[in-house]
């Protein structure tokens, strides 16, 4: 792709000066290869035993040389750049979208709206998310139109020329309000509670009745964005046989192919998804985002189209970690033994389902903590709100409940005057313990881990180092 001009040896002085000038203008390609420096073949004997061997990553050298190609490093001849217009309003009815002025701009090749999408809904479980909002806006990060232009700057400018008329609706922003039956449905006529799970073990009422004291606490966590250093990006190109190739930062390409087949309305066999090196995922790149948009724009224009999220879009229009409201009630004996625990979790699902089902399940199963509790009742709800959608993020709900049950445990220890370490050792799961879902647990080393950790950082009972 280099346009290196040949050196002109003869000609007038002016011609020679021009050729030197052109050489200076020639793109400086990355040095082709300081490779191979040495062939990296691990010797069999060095590989075993693996324990205590330092592992070097096979891609580490390319990363360090700056030679790893992420999607934004790709260029295809004739490629266009796409940008998505975001709604900027939490809940609204779309009255009209006027794209005429944007289409007339020099350098703009095509504009796409929700009406151009063959099937405008997708999602990893519930198909509740539009590719581009066409009649309703469910959260401010919703895309309402997309532009393909010869430069990113022209595409960005064209977004401002797209006029969208909204009829604002009252947004549902509080998950506890969303839980109430009289609250208007975010996705009416569907109810706001879109997943629910209960885990029951023993008899909590009897457990509380037998308890020396009963403690209650409510814990909340906030929404967290993955912030991968590499923003979401995708690039689509069609061939004359009607096959589309999509380069994407997607972590789950098989699922992505199914969603693409649905939204584009073509068989999966016509879709090739190439997962490029991902510059950080953390759960945030588990579902398609702009892939159908670039595919449809590429089809409309007959040219390859790339779309890379801006950093603000990364915050407003990708998934986030579920904020949780966690209500804990725990009955304990005088010695600090946990006798009964009742938990209610409310997950703020945001505008779309995404991976809420998985997150809700895992949060609910793990909500009791690594403790033996004979009488348990855990209940979890996930609700729609007109906020940034929540989805998969490292731990799928586990870190949120961990914050709640460990904070609760500290409160109990303090009130009973017991060392926080001692109360945990007293209650921890042991070899053969039953999990909240009555699974028999093996290789349980919670107590050993706690003891070792306490010893290593010099735990002396009051939280400070000895």
């Amino acid at each position: 792709m280099d346009k290196k001009s040949a050196v002109v040896e003869t000609g007038t002085a002016t011609e020679r000066a021009r050729s030197v000038e052109e050489m200076l203008r020639a793109p400086a390609a990355a040095p082709l290869a300081p490779l191979p420096l040495e062939v990296l073949i691990p010797e069999a004997k060095q590989q075993t035993p693996a324990v205590r061997q330092r592992v070097t990553r096979p891609d580490g050298r390319l990363h360090g040389l700056g030679q790893t190609k992420y999607i934004d490093d790709f260029y295809m001849p004739g490629m266009l750049y796409a940008k998505v217009k975001r709604a900027g309003i939490a809940s609204a009815r779309i009255i009209s979208i006027d794209t005429k002025e944007a289409e007339a701009m020099p350098g703009v090749v095509a504009v796409l709206t929700g009406r151009d999408v063959p099937c405008n809904s997708f999602g990893p479980s519930l198909k509740d998310q539009p590719v581009l909002a066409d009649t309703r806006v469910f959260y401010s990060g919703d895309g309402v139109a997309a532009v393909a232009a010869v430069t990113e700057q022209i595409a960005t400018e064209a977004l401002e020329k797209i006029k969208v008329e909204y009829e604002p609706l009252t947004p549902v922003l509080d998950p506890l309000l969303s839980l109430q039956l009289e609250t208007p449905g975010v996705h009416a006529p569907n109810p706001n509670v879109y997943w629910h799970k209960v885990i029951k073990k023993g008899d909590v009422e009897r457990g509380f009745a037998e308890s020396y004291r009963v403690f209650e606490g409510t814990f909340r966590t906030q929404m967290v964005e993955h912030v991968p250093l590499e923003p979401h990006s995708s690039l689509a190109t069609w061939d004359a046989n009607g096959r589309v190739t999509i380069y994407s930062t997607l972590g789950r390409i098989t699922l992505g192919r199914a969603d693409l087949s649905r939204t584009l309305g073509i068989p999966m066999s016509r879709i090739r998804v190439i997962a490029t090196v991902v510059g950080g995922n953390f759960g945030g790149k588990n579902e398609i985002t702009t892939e159908p948009i670039v595919a449809l724009l590429a089809k409309k224009t007959g040219r390859p189209v790339k779309c890379t999220f801006t950093r603000p879009e990364e915050f407003t229009s990708s998934t986030t970690r579920h904020p949780l409201i966690m209500e804990y009630k725990t009955g304990v004996s005088k010695q600090g033994k946990l006798l009964a625990r009742q938990i209610r979790l409310v997950l703020d699902g945001g505008a779309y389902c995404s991976w809420s089902e998985t997150t809700l399940g895992k949060a609910c199963i793990l909500s009791a903590g690594p403790y033996e509790i004979e009488n348990l009742h855990a209940e979890a709800f996930v609700v729609y709100t007109n906020k940034t959608m929540t989805g998969a993020m490292r731990g799928f709900g586990a870190p949120q409940v961990c914050f709640a049950y460990e904070s609760h445990m500290d409160d109990i220890a303090k009130a009973l005057g017991i060392d926080p370490l001692e109360i945990r050792l007293l209650n921890t799961l042991k070899e053969g313990s039953l999990s909240p879902t009555s699974q028999v647990l093996h290789s349980v080393v919670v107590a050993d881990t706690l003891k070792q950790a306490a010893e290593r950082f010099g735990w002396n009972g009051n939280g400070s180092k000895s």
Binding site: T56, L65, L229
Partner: protein
Amino acid sequence: MTKVTLTVNGEARSASVPPEMTLLRLLREEFSLTGSKLGCDVGDCGACTVLVDGKAVNSCLMLAGQADGRDVVTIEGLATMERLHPIQKAFEDKGSLQCGFCGPGVIMSAKALLDENPDPSEEEIRDALAGNLCRCTGYAKMIEAIQAAARLEDARPAAKSA
């Protein structure tokens, strides 16, 4: 259009660019040097760090025109056909990079530090990396690698030339 002439990795380069083009886009789009990454475009993440006249700079915050007549070194300018730069070697040996997206920026910040201070303390290394974000949270191994590279550079001062 603005005409920019600068030295990139030891070679004279020239380009005619729109006045609003950043140094980062000049390197990536005009010169095909895609090792410097666009992470945030507002100077927060440091994935675009390059050396301008020996100083670590967020190339997304510098206009291409401001780099006129300057000496720019990018990640592509560190290794030679024969060998990796000691910092790159140390990063590889210590497994310091995970997804790798922040790597070129981190390595350039480390180079700026070691060029000025061949034997930095851990705190000085942390200070030098303050403008480079890593979301894979791999800072510990990066610091280890930079310390190892400092020792290597001491042993082989010739390696300092970029």
